[in-house]
Amino acid sequence: MVGTLQRNVGASVTLRLFFAAGWRSHMALFRWMRPSAFFPTVIGVPTVQLIWFVYLGHYVGTHPVAYYAVGNALHACAIAGLFAPAMSIQGERFSGTLTAVLATPARRSVMFLGRVVPAVLIGFLTSVVMLALGVVVADVELPWARLPQLVGAVLVTTASCCAFGLLIGAIGLRTREAILIANLTSYLMLLVCGVNVPLESLPDWLQVVGRLMPMTHGIQAAREVLAGTTGAGGLMLLEFLKALVYLGIALVVLRVLEQNSRRHAVLDEM
């Protein structure tokens, strides 16, 4: 007899949708999960970027080179953290699976939040590797006693970046330009989030933009932890709250644009 297969919406099924489907979707959509693509893309690009800015900073001489190393090490999480969630819709469209996925009864909030988890993990690991590189090339001194706080700062920065990436991904339900928006965001972050240029040296309006962007307070928190000064906890909390706000907006945008795409028949538009 058909239609008798056991289905439920219990916790184990929800957890599988969150973790297993999230991880498998990441494997399905991103070529960088192959080692031949992972190292050049996820590790290679930020390595070159970090070294480039460290030597530029050394030449300019306005800050210690560790300043640039820390900023770029945290910005490194954007490769996976920003781009993977940003491409989670557009990637489905490219692979021709978007219609099949959206025809399933899976809860969208769980499904798309689950896709953020691998991005957070890979982004976090990338930043950790880049901090280690910073130790080698820029004499960044890791405070072993405050390592948990540093891990917290990196984690919250990555999470915030991923949440913003999901917001870009949600917009991808209505536009083909998600990857362009993610690229623009990544470059904007280099300027306004205190990666290489102190926020205070920017015009007022750019400082406002910087404070609204992900990463700014997380980078500041990491620098506070490394300098051994107080205030890192508040900055991390602020970055975490920004992440929650981005996530909330992303889920609302996803819901609205999915409904909208059903109304206007734009799901398959390439």
Binding site: Q6, A21, T99
Partner: protein
């Protein structure tokens, strides 16, 4: 509980076509499909088949009218419809090329909320059924079109749906693969499911479907069993010619001949197959040969109309039924 598996009531879908114009992709379509029935939706490109299927898949909203699956409205009860409907798309779309067959099914099993213990059993059964058990660990990017299509079927049946929608399932598949596919579709109906299938291939519809509907310009222009549609061509005969070099002016002259209804031309092995649907009472052979005397006619034969002839007669006719 509804008596019907699929019900469409005056379903319409209007698209904006730019410059303030609109296009009615589906126009006042009404259908009733019984439980356990295999129903074919036929029509040329742009007839509105895919828009109808997308509305039933819940990925497109109708502009007006209603569509219900097993009594559930596809707009108001989306989640129930999605749980009880399986969608099998044709072509390469709908599968993750970088994942193996098994991983594709595991991913969709999670999206359909199937508990893990059930997943293992169900995926094993389905891979066995579609003959992909040996290739379960192979990435889909290495699959042939036919293998992908069989995996599509497994994916569509994963959550044990009561209603299955197949959108041009045999598109681009070789004849052997298409035959295997038809056998799988037949098995789906034997299991007690209701199947709605869109197809361009009339012999496929003739072989598989209990009933068919023909669409043109978004409207239903005929509905019935394949046999009843063929009967619409009663009193007709098909004059079939294999010919080289026939052009539009020749066809225009043939259309004007008394006793000639519709005609169709297809490329076959370097020549053209010209089928003229003619009145049985009037032998038009001599007149046709006279009109085509300047061309190289390789073969002339007469035959009884098939479902394809009935379809061509319907979709090339001017009046809606």
């Amino acid at each position: 509980m509804s008596d019907y598996a699929i019900e469409l009531d005056n379903l319409s879908r209007v698209f904006r076509a730019g410059q303030g114009k609109t296009k009615r992709a589906v126009d006042q379509l009404s259908l009733r499909i019984e439980r356990g029935e295999m129903f074919g939706l036929l029509g040329p490109n742009g007839a509105g088949k895919t828009s109808t299927v997308k509305i039933l898949m819940t990925v497109l909203l109708p502009t007006s009218g209603h569509a219900r699956i097993l009594g559930d409205d596809v707009v108001a009860q989306v989640e129930r419809v999605r749980r009880r409907t399986g969608v099998i798309l044709g072509g390469d779309a709908g599968l993750y090329a970088r994942l193996s067959a098994r991983d594709n099914l595991l991913l969709f099993a999670d999206l359909y909320g199937i508990p893990y213990r059930e997943q293992k059993r169900r995926i094993g059964e389905l891979l066995d059924m579609v003959g992909l058990l040996k290739s379960e660990r192979t990435r889909v990017e290495a699959f042939s079109r036919g293998m992908k299509q069989r995996l599509h079927i497994a994916r569509g049946l994963l959550h044990d749906p009561e209603v299955v929608i197949l959108d041009e399932p045999s598109n681009g598949i070789d004849p052997v693969g298409a035959r295997e596919l038809r056998e799988l579709v037949r098995g789906t109906v034997r299991d007690g499911r209701t199947v709605l299938m869109t197809t361009h291939y009339m012999f496929e519809a003739d072989e598989l479907c209990d009933r068919v509907a023909v669409m043109r310009g978004g409207r239903k222009i005929a509905e019935g069993t394949p046999e009843s549609l063929k009967k619409q061509t009663d009193g007709q005969v098909v004059l079939s010619l294999d010919i080289i070099g026939v052009g539009e002016p020749d066809l225009d002259r043939l259309r004007l001949l008394p006793g000639v209804g519709s005609l169709s031309v297809a490329e076959v092995d370097g020549s053209q197959r010209l089928d003229l649907h003619c009145d049985q009472q009037t032998d038009v052979t001599a007149a046709v040969m006279a009109e085509l005397r300047h061309l190289n006619v390789l073969r002339v034969s007469k035959r009884e109309p098939t479902l394809e002839d009935a379809y061509i007669s319907l979709v090339s006719g001017g009046d809606d039924a």
